[in-house]
């Protein structure tokens, strides 16, 4: 009998890593109580899960770890409201429920042989971390062409996963360009918005898929730039955020037009989004 989709897997918080200088973004490493649960939780980058705290309800978060990082389940959470504040305050060893994996991942079946352009802004880099770690894994790397990542934040202190970013920048099988709006005196890399960096780098659109995650305003301008660079609508992949409850396409809350962001998304191509009403 199939598992009850409303019943979270029991898990525990193993470790908390503070990601940014403002200390309001933390990455949580979770471990399932039951190895059987861990084995069932098979996911691909781009998917999300609902984290559950009894009494506080649930909230959806993109999975920040890659399935290639066995035994490491990561979620990065920004403290914005009641639920996230509670998450930020719990200690290692505390119980958390995990429901998922949910949603459609990035279209890994389409990327074979393609070049990838990965663009992230601010806090939305979580599932992109998952994607990059997945791509760089030796078992996967040869499936993809060249990989170029552009990641922007307001200040150097707001960049997440700085250890990972530094390690990636040392590699020759991925290009990682970081940019900030406001540099500090130690910053030696790009300054300016992500779109400005794109326009400097002018990545080719030929045989390339672009994956874009970021705040609405960044997405808006990035799409314009990608159009200019010659990317067609079905070559641009986005991840949407919506208010969610059940996460399994039943409660109706996250629906946009005929789609549910939780089951038909959150990953959509620009072409798919254009058919939907602008209610997000």
């Amino acid at each position: 009998m199939a598992r009850n989709p409303y019943l979270p897997y029991p898990a525990r918080l193993e470790e908390t890593i503070v990601e940014n200088d403002a200390k309001d973004i933390k990455t949580f490493r979770l471990a399932f109580d039951d190895p059987a649960g861990a084995a069932e939780f098979q996911y691909l980058p781009g998917q999300f899960a609902e984290l559950s705290l009894p009494g506080m309800g649930e909230a959806p978060f993109g999975i920040a770890s890659s399935p290639t990082e066995t035994g490491r389940l990561l979620f990065s959470v920004k403290r914005t409201g009641l639920f996230t504040a509670e998450l930020h305050s719990i200690e290692p060893g505390a119980r958390i429920g995990v429901r998922g994996p949910m949603g459609k991942p990035f279209p890994w079946d389409r990327v074979a042989g393609k070049d990838l352009l990965i663009i992230g802004g601010g806090f939305a880099f979580t599932t992109l971390r998952s994607a990059i770690v997945y791509i760089l894994d030796p078992a996967n790397r040869s499936r993809f062409g060249s990989v170029l990542a552009v990641y922007g934040a307001r200040t150097p202190g707001e960049l997440m996963y700085r250890a990972d970013l530094a390690a990636w920048q040392k590699r020759d099988d991925i290009g990682v360009h970081l940019t900030v709006d406001k540099p500090d005196q130690n910053w030696t890399q790009h300054v300016g918005v992500v779109t400005a960096v794109l326009e400097t780098l002018t990545p080719s659109a030929r045989n390339t898929l672009a994956i874009v995650c970021g705040p609405p305003i960044m997405i808006k301008f990035t799409l314009l730039t990608l159009s200019k660079l010659g990317f067609s609508d079905d070559a641009i992949i986005l991840s949407l955020e919506m208010r969610m409850k059940c996460g399994i396409g039943k409660c109706g809350r996250c629906n946009i037009g005929s789609k549910f962001v939780c089951t038909d998304g959150p990953v959509f191509t620009r072409e798919e989004l254009k058919t939907l009403p602008v209610e997000y």
């Binding site: 009850n4 009894p54 409850k245 039943k250």
Partner: protein
């Protein structure tokens, strides 16, 4: 499938027999002059003199208030799901069809909803055909009909003095077989009379043009008519709560200490808070977006997803809206 018959005077015996094996719901007066689909304890006076119930039977497969999880010491557990059968007697054809729409959402697709599945599989539906539709009924325009057996396990037609019964599913066949000693075969004349009664009931209904509604609504997405139509909407939730196909719900935790429950309750897309994000952004900020969403969901998105209208023409929303909004008027304006 042969039609069976039972004299209406034997109805109480039939229901008593059914009560031996299941919880039975049947039309009965509730003490205020209204006929409701009541849980029978044996003391009610069952009647077949009614048009339709105010509340749709969806409450019996998707309760207003349903515990999803129990919490103890911070651990989540499944509640014990209800056991046993229910028999719903006297459901109208529109409401029976509506259950199939709910099945699309809760049973089809991956994953399916175990709470809904348990209540649904335990339910046997005995539909009672309509002899007299109301002026707010329009089931024939949305693929149904006053004698439509879709969604029923047994279809019943009340003639003068007799009740004709016909099995529509194997579940229904088994049910009628278990009642064989109470039933006799219906005469061809009675069957013909039943067919004529159904046909006569179809005539008075004013047709509503819904063919191609999905495409017309797609084109009318930005039409000014949504603003005009929705200005009257109070966001009161009556339409969604009474609608037999509306299924949107909210999930909340009710916990003190480490103990409590996670519960789902009916929700309504016409409520201002339905799509409100924690950031304060609301993709559907005014009644216009919300009312448009309601119509779009039922007459366009459901068609795109399930090839099925999520409206069965029961007319409850028209009859009970305190502002007397009528979605038939809107559909007509969109088609114009």
């Amino acid at each position: 499938m042969t039609e069976k018959r039972i004299p209406q005077t034997d109805l109480d015996r039939l229901l008593a027999r059914l009560r031996q094996r299941a919880a039975v719901y049947a039309p009965a007066e509730d003490g205020t002059g209204e006929v409701v689909l009541a849980a029978l304890s044996g003391k009610e006076s069952v009647t077949l003199e009614y048009r339709n119930f105010r509340l749709s039977p969806k409450a019996l497969v998707l309760p207003q208030n349903q515990t999803l999880l129990c919490f103890k010491d911070g651990q989540a557990e499944e509640p014990r799901l209800p056991e046993g059968e229910t028999i719903l007697f006297g459901v109208r054809p529109c409401d029976a069809r509506a259950l199939l729409a709910l099945d699309q959402v809760f049973l089809n697709g991956n994953p399916h909803d175990p709470y809904y599945a348990r209540l649904r599989s335990g339910a046997t539906v005995i539909t009672l055909a309509c002899a007299r539709p109301m002026s707010s009924c329009f089931c024939t325009s949305v693929g149904g009909g006053p004698g439509d057996g879709t969604g029923a396990d047994v279809l019943a037609v009340a003639l003068a003095g007799d009740l004709l019964l016909r099995a529509e599913t194997s579940k229904g066949e088994a049910l009628l077989a278990s009642l064989a000693d109470l039933l006799s075969d219906a005469t061809p004349a009675a069957v013909k009379e039943a067919q004529e009664q159904v046909r006569a009931a179809e005539d008075p209904m004013t047709p509503v043009k819904v063919d191609g509604s999905a495409e017309r609504l797609r084109q009318a997405y930005d039409s000014p008519l949504w603003e005009a139509a929705s200005r009257k909407c109070l966001g009161c939730g009556t339409c969604s709560f009474l609608c037999p196909t509306c299924h949107c719900f909210d999930i909340t935790d009710e916990v003190r200490g480490g103990a409590g429950r996670r519960v789902r309750t009916w929700d309504c897309c016409a409520y201002p808070l339905f799509t409100l994000h924690a950031s304060g952004h609301n993709p559907r900020p005014t009644p216009k977006e919300r009312w448009r969403q309601r119509i779009m969901h039922k007459f366009r998105y459901a068609v795109e997803n399930f090839d099925r209208l999520f409206c069965v023409g029961c007319g409850r929303c028209i009859r009970h809206c305190p502002a007397s909004l009528d979605l038939r008027t809107v559909l007509k304006e969109v088609g114009a």
